[in-house]
């Protein structure tokens, strides 16, 4: 047995080396360089041999020490399972401690401008994840064009604020309403579509909005983007270092020293509140008839019809409400950046948000937070490695799928309980 296993391991690692050679040989080994104005191929075999050796030996060691004697697949993921069980049972505690942490986060000693920016970005993604969770996680409608609503929110906020000079608190709901209208606009043609077909059409919708923004120069300034979007004010008190004559600003009103961090901290709390509202709303609506109908629709549309549930209205509300939160997040994005252009709303954004929702565990609110922290955090940690950071991103997805194939937090709690056992 042991001998056979050794033989198998050697064979296996040689095979791994072969695959590594096939992959890295052309990619790493052959490099074109311009010499005397002609391109020549410069082989770099040493590094290829090194990579292949690392792969083969690594595989051999994994075979020996990780897979070991008992090759049952189930045993590999015991770590994943125990982490999973912990997360499943302690979901509420994790959520509460996360909220407390995020409230005191700006005042922790190690918090600096860089961390605050990342935190704000993460919260934006968490909010988008929660919004999309309504559409994908609850209603089961795979929407690959979610960024369109983010864009609609951002642009409608920017246009209202620039042209009419309305304040953030007026433009925000307007942007949400506009995004919701676009949600319905997308919802109508895709009512009869499901699964892959729905995904394709929503993807196209996302691209259409981006291309529209790119080409409608009179309104959106096309690729130049919109500049000079008003910064948010603290209920009418702007954040300015040098106030105009007789103008009250945040720091003069509260008698503080001016510090650019004040605006950042305000933005942080703003997005935290917006995200928590999204979350509370979703938790509440899940327990209402409409939320239950969304989940029923995800499970079986035909059964829904046979029980008199109107699938059209149910789907459209899911699209509209999901889009509305995307629009809110978009207006926050616009006011934070003060500059938006179609480049911020590419397909990769949609893909990241979908990844956050799916990897977090469809329908799980806490899961969205965990996967955002994990995925966005990794992208940031590996920022110095430039384009290699996408490898980390992909690697994280692969790891989650190996250890938690149904998402980080996969268990679903019933929305209503008959027998109170505990």
């Amino acid at each position: 047995m042991r001998k056979n296993f050794l033989k198998f391991s050697v064979k296996d690692s040689l095979f791994t080396g072969l695959i590594a050679l096939a992959l890295f040989g052309p990619i790493v080994g052959l490099r074109t360089v311009a010499k005397n104005e002609i391109l020549i191929v410069q082989p770099k075999w040493l590094i290829v041999i090194l990579i292949v050796a690392v792969c083969a030996i690594g595989r051999f060691l994994i075979n020996l020490y990780v897979f070991k004697r008992d090759q049952k697949l189930g045993n590999q993921s015991t770590i994943g399972k125990s982490i999973g069980n912990f997360l499943d049972t302690k979901g509420t505690q994790i959520a509460i401690s996360a909220i407390i942490f995020s409230v005191i986060f700006p005042f922790l000693p190690f918090t600096d401008r860089y961390l605050m920016d990342i935190a704000i970005m993460m919260l934006t993604y968490i909010m988008l994840g929660w919004g999309l969770n309504i559409v994908i996680g609850l209603a089961g409608l795979l929407d690959l064009g979610y960024v369109a609503f983010y864009a609609v929110g951002a642009y409608s906020y920017a246009l209202f604020a620039i042209h009419f000079g309305w304040s953030f608190w007026i433009c925000l709901p307007l942007a949400g309403i506009f995004a919701a209208m676009f949600g319905v606009l997308l919802g109508f043609p895709v009512l009869r579509l499901r699964g892959d077909y729905l995904a394709i059409v929503t993807l196209a919708f996302g691209e259409m909005i981006r291309i529209l923004l790119l080409n409608w120069y009179e309104l959106t300034k096309g690729p130049d983007g919109l500049t000079g979007i008003p910064r948010p004010s603290f209920f009418g008190l702007p954040f300015k270092s040098f106030p105009d004559e007789g103008e009250q600003t945040f720091h003069t009103f509260f008698g503080l020293e001016y510090n650019p961090m004040q605006r950042i901290i305000f933005l942080y709390y703003l997005i935290l509140v917006l995200a928590l509202i999204t979350n509370l709303f979703t938790i509440k609506i899940r327990k209402l008839p409409i939320g239950r109908a969304w989940e029923a629709l995800r499970e079986d549309e035909i059964a829904c019809k046979s029980l008199g549930v109107n699938p059209r209205n149910t789907k459209l509300t899911a699209f509209a409400i999901g889009a509305m939160f995307g629009g809110f997040a978009g207006s926050f994005f616009a006011t934070r950046q003060a500059f938006i252009s179609p480049e911020s709303f590419t397909f990769i954004e949609s893909a990241i948000i979908v990844a956050i929702v799916v990897l977090g565990g469809m329908g799980s609110q806490t899961g969205v937070v965990l996967s955002t922290v994990f995925l966005i955090g990794l992208i940031e940690v590996f920022r110095d490695f430039e384009s290699y950071r996408m490898i980390a991103f992909g690697g994280a997805m692969v790891l989650i799928m190996i250890f938690r194939p149904r998402g980080i937090l996969a268990t679903r709690k019933p929305t209503i309980i008959l027998n109170n056992k505990d």
Binding site: E299, A303, S306, V309, I416
Partner: protein
């Protein structure tokens, strides 16, 4: 008013060149169990799909007689049949919401009532007392039915985790939650053992006698059909070949021929 609950007249359904139902006329009485039987492919499920709005019949008429109105079922499209006409159905291959709890399945069936009570979600968001009261009532109704099929203890488990027989029963009582006038059951006894079909018979008789709901039943299990049906309609190749009581059906030569063939 007459005692007919459902009048189907000259119902015809064509799929391209295929004539699935050919000029079918039958009726179902109030407070009775009417069975539709026939060999595989006879068009039984197609009749159901026409009745419950999943297909649009090529020709013919279907009327449901309520206390004081006569509803033309052809005027209602898919989900409105359940919502407005009060025709409920179950499916040949069980269609529960497997990842939702048993109780949630029952609550979804009371969706329209609860949706109104929640003021299209707005009142519900703020826990308005009228909505909370309605929701409690809906839970009571769910509990009532779960007690009858003995699933109250498992009300908070996923419906998909129930044993097969319980899933069948759950699908039936879920359909009853919409308070139907007519309940259409598509092979409810398929895959059940002898004891489970006996339980099923009891449940169906209870629905008929206590709830005064007419039942239309497609079934292959003759022990179920013969024991509880008041009226039997036999289909073959989309045509009605016989109609009568279960005793008469047993003796009918046409029916025996359809099932066993003729010797020639």
């Amino acid at each position: 008013m007459n005692s007919k609950l459902l009048d189907v007249e000259n119902l015809t359904m064509k799929f391209g060149g295929l004539l699935a139902i050919d000029d079918l006329t039958f009726s179902a009485n109030k407070d009775q169990i009417t069975s539709i039987i026939g060999p595989n492919g006879a068009g039984k499920t197609t009749v159901f799909n026409c009745l419950t709005g999943f297909y649009r019949a090529t020709a013919g008429s279907m009327y449901l007689n309520k206390e004081n109105e006569r509803l033309n079922l052809r005027k209602f499209s898919d989900f409105r049949i359940a919502q407005n006409a009060g025709v409920a159905r179950t499916f040949q291959n069980i269609r529960l919401f497997p990842q939702m709890s048993v109780l949630e399945n029952m609550m979804v069936a009371q969706h329209n009532k609860l949706m109104d009570a929640s003021g299209f979600t707005l009142l519900g968001l703020f826990n308005s007392p009228s909505f909370v009261k309605k929701e409690k009532e809906a839970m009571e109704i769910s509990k009532y039915w779960l007690d009858i099929i003995g699933l109250t203890k498992r009300a908070d488990d996923d419906a998909g985790d129930l044993p097969y027989g319980d899933q069948r029963k759950l699908e039936i009582v879920r359909a009853m939650c919409i308070n139907p006038h007519l309940l259409c059951l598509d092979e409810p006894a398929a895959g059940l053992n002898a004891k489970e079909s006996a339980d099923l018979n009891k449940l169906l008789l209870f629905i008929k006698n206590e709830k005064k709901t007419g039942i239309l039943l497609i079934e292959h299990d003759m022990s179920v059909v013969m024991e509880i049906s008041d009226h039997v309609v036999v289909l073959n190749y989309g045509k009605k070949i016989f109609e009568g009581t279960s005793q008469e059906t047993k003796k009918s030569t046409e029916v025996i021929e359809a099932y066993l063939g003729t010797d020639d």
